[in-house]
Amino acid sequence: MIARLADGAARRSLWLLAAVFAALVIAPWAVNDYLLTVMIVALYLAYTGQAWNIMMGFAGQLSLGNALYAGLGAYVAATLFTRYGVAPWLGLLAAIPVAVACAAIIGFLAFRFGVAGVYFAILTIAFAEFARVGFDHFDFVHASAGLFLPVAQYTHDDLWRLRGNPTMFYYVMLAATAFAFLLSRALLRGRIGYFWLAIREDEQAARAAGIDTFRCKMLALMISAAVTSFAGVFYAFFYNNLFPEQVFNISQSIEMILGPIIGGIGTLFGPVLGAFVLTGMAESVTSIMSALGFDLPGAKQVFYGICLLLVVVALPEGIWPPLARRFGIDKAKQ
């Protein structure tokens, strides 16, 4: 399942991967600024989706509060930058431990006390909401008034300080998404990947096979949080403004999970494919609506809700698995 594809299938999936990656690399030359921004959003969702997929798709832990880690990453890096001039890549080194610590707390509380399944999901929502309301009153980061980063002139690309053209941001996100993909793949094929899948399938049987499920679940949570925190750093420096109301909002968490759910939870290609399909459709819908003269706040969210509904009802395993079978890439999994 995880490990070995028949030779033909392995080669086919490798070609597919190479083709997709090549297309993504040359994309900025082929598309206009608007589309580039759309693709950045798609990559952002692909990245965060893959992070969530590690927790849910591999280890089976439903989290609806991943916006917490992105938000923490964003605020830590942004605050260090605006107050102390710390570059985002260094800020990331501070953001990751913060996010991981939070994940460890949540995981410890949940797993030690047997909070599982849907109740775990509610717990994650509660923590994200806690952060949202908390940061709304946290004056050190300007609370609900918002934290703003100085917007520089785009005369040159400053990768170190993440100031520059959208193209630079695009490649940063592309690299990050590629990293997340390779990380997911490595984890899945390794010892921990097998343990996670066992836990996902049947936690009690996994324990009977000697797996320390507490430790494995904690690891999934913490890795997911660490990876997601970078997305927050990116978000802060790309959009240049942070409001707790938006950054920690449950709708952000839901956006992050839509990609993997649509694409296929637990697969490697699923989150990326799902993110692009989702973003593509969402943008089309918004464009059509504004072309028709409707400017409806909330229309996109309704669209997301309908997508989620349709996928959950009609395509529970997502888009990718049936496609993979068509391409002859499938085995018992992937």
Binding site: R191, Y194, L197, A205
Partner: protein
């Protein structure tokens, strides 16, 4: 022969019901030990206590000279006790091979090494050809065998089998019995099994313990135990013929 597993006055009650009442016995190293008795006698509860799934209310369980009472299931497995479940539980979406690899990874950190070991075990149990099939698509006898293989992959010193031949046809029963006997003979694997199918018990066990309503009512060699009047009364029935029926 030294006792690998020692159960001393172990008890468990659930609210008002005493499931296991001060049961004591010892499983010698290298033996095949069967626990039999009518439904509701407390056999699976006893197993669950040994395997760490539920803690006993009183009494001690010792394994290889160390006390393991109240350890978590994964800790118990790491000490060398592997178990199967009465209602078989393979990992449904994973392939046969991957199921076993999960077990093999307990003591091997390299996935490649775990895979080789898994394949060796699968070959021995005649599941190698189906190694890429999804576990949920296997027949019941195959799933039972898969669970045994997965348990064996964790390299246990003691294997707990919970009604492993239930629902199998006589030929399948004989085959599984033969493999288990071989394992016991060749690698010295100690086996503790719960069983209703007397055919398997008589063919495998060197010692039998009979439980009834949580109490141990007989223990000894199979031939003696099945003739014990108390056992016949509570479990086997009046006629000797029953002993040989499946």
């Amino acid at each position: 022969m030294t006792a690998l597993l020692s159960i001393e006055r172990v008890s468990k009650r659930f609210r008002g019901l005493v499931a296991v009442d001060s049961v004591s016995f010892a499983v010698p190293q290298g033996a095949i030990f069967a626990v039999i008795g009518p439904n509701g006698a407390g056999k699976t509860t006893l197993f669950n206590m040994i395997a760490g799934a539920i803690p006993p209310d009183s009494g001690t369980i010792s394994f290889a000279g160390e006390e393991i009472t109240g350890l978590t299931p994964d800790a118990v497995c790491r000490r060398g006790i592997a178990r199967t479940f009465q209602l078989v539980r393979p990992f449904p979406a994973l392939s046969v091979e991957d199921n076993v690899i999960v077990g093999a990874l307990l003591h091997r950190h390299d996935v490649g090494a775990a895979r080789s070991q898994a394949q060796e075990l699968l070959r021995r149990f005649d599941l190698f050809d189906r190694r890429y099939q999804q576990a949920s698509s296997l027949t019941l006898p195959d799933r039972k065998r898969l669970e045994v293989v997965r348990a064996l992959a964790t390299e246990p010193k003691l294997l707990l089998l919970d009604e492993v031949v239930a629902g199998l046809r006589p030929t399948e029963v004989d085959r599984l019995v033969a493999v288990l006997r071989e394992l016991n003979r060749d690698s010295g694997l100690t086996i503790l099994l719960i069983e209703h199918v007397m055919r398997a018990v008589m063919a495998l066990a060197s010692r039998v313990l009979v439980l009834d309503h949580g109490v141990a009512i007989a223990e000894g060699e199979p031939r003696e135990v099945v003739r014990d009047p108390a056992v016949v009364q509570s479990y086997l029935g009046q006629s000797e013929v029953n002993v040989w029926a499946v």
